[in-house]
Amino acid sequence: MKGQELQLLKEFENDSKWFHENIDKLREENFIGKFVAIKDAKPIASDKNIDLVIKSLEENGEDPSFIFIEFVHPKGFTLLL
């Protein structure tokens, strides 16, 4: 079980890395202002409403709990925590 969990985390980390390295490409492809789900280094669902992204993942047999989903902010946007 621990091995499976580590594998899930590794895949999530890899998709996170891909997202952050390809954020400009995603902006060029009209994902700005949308939540994007990434799996195996490619976008598999997107929408302005995260609920619809999650629904789409579930309909395609994915478990959203382990899928990397992030919002694509416009270039120049700064998030203050």
């Binding site: 999530f12 996170s16 609920d51 959203p64 709990s65 990397f68 998030l79 925590l81």
Partner: protein, 143 residues
């Protein structure tokens, strides 16, 4: 012991980011999380998008204790509840059980990520080393 972190340019700045698995029995919660390590935040709080990904609803949170004061979060104030037994696992490196705050107000279109705050560092006796120019960051245990 060192726990490696990632350093990315994200949402306008260079950030130290952590990836971990979160588990809880009540409410049931299990999923992968990306969090911003934020030494400006006294508390650890689960992001609204991450709650949604793990399908945690308000109803699931009914047995949790409410925090008396609201937290500043996502540009406003939100009511939160405390999950006292959140099990976090940082790959092969480290695991811990800590209390985390969970927003219970419905936040429309909230994109605020999960934040690992100073409480996480204190409870686990960890120090944060962050070298943004070298794109390197890690926690180090002082236990």
């Amino acid at each position: 012991m060192k726990i490696p972190l990632e350093v990315y340019f994200f949402a306008g700045g260079m950030r130290a980011m952590a990836h971990f698995l979160i588990k809880s029995d009540d409410p049931h919660m299990f999923g992968s999380i990306e969090a911003i390590v934020d030494t400006g935040s006294p508390t650890t709080i689960l992001g609204a998008p991450d709650l949604k990904r793990m399908r945690v609803s308000k109803l699931n949170l009914k047995n949790l204790e409410s925090r008396k004061d609201p937290l500043a979060y996502g540009g406003g104030e939100v009511k939160v509840k405390t999950l006292n037994q959140a099990h976090l696992r940082f790959g092969e490196y480290f695991e811990c059980v800590i209390p985390i705050q969970i927003p219970v107000d419905e936040i429309i279109n909230c994109t605020q990520p999960t934040i690992l705050g100073v409480d996480f560092l204190m409870l686990n006796k960890l120090s944060l080393f962050f070298y943004p120019n070298k794109r390197e960051a890690y926690f180090e245990s002082s236990k």
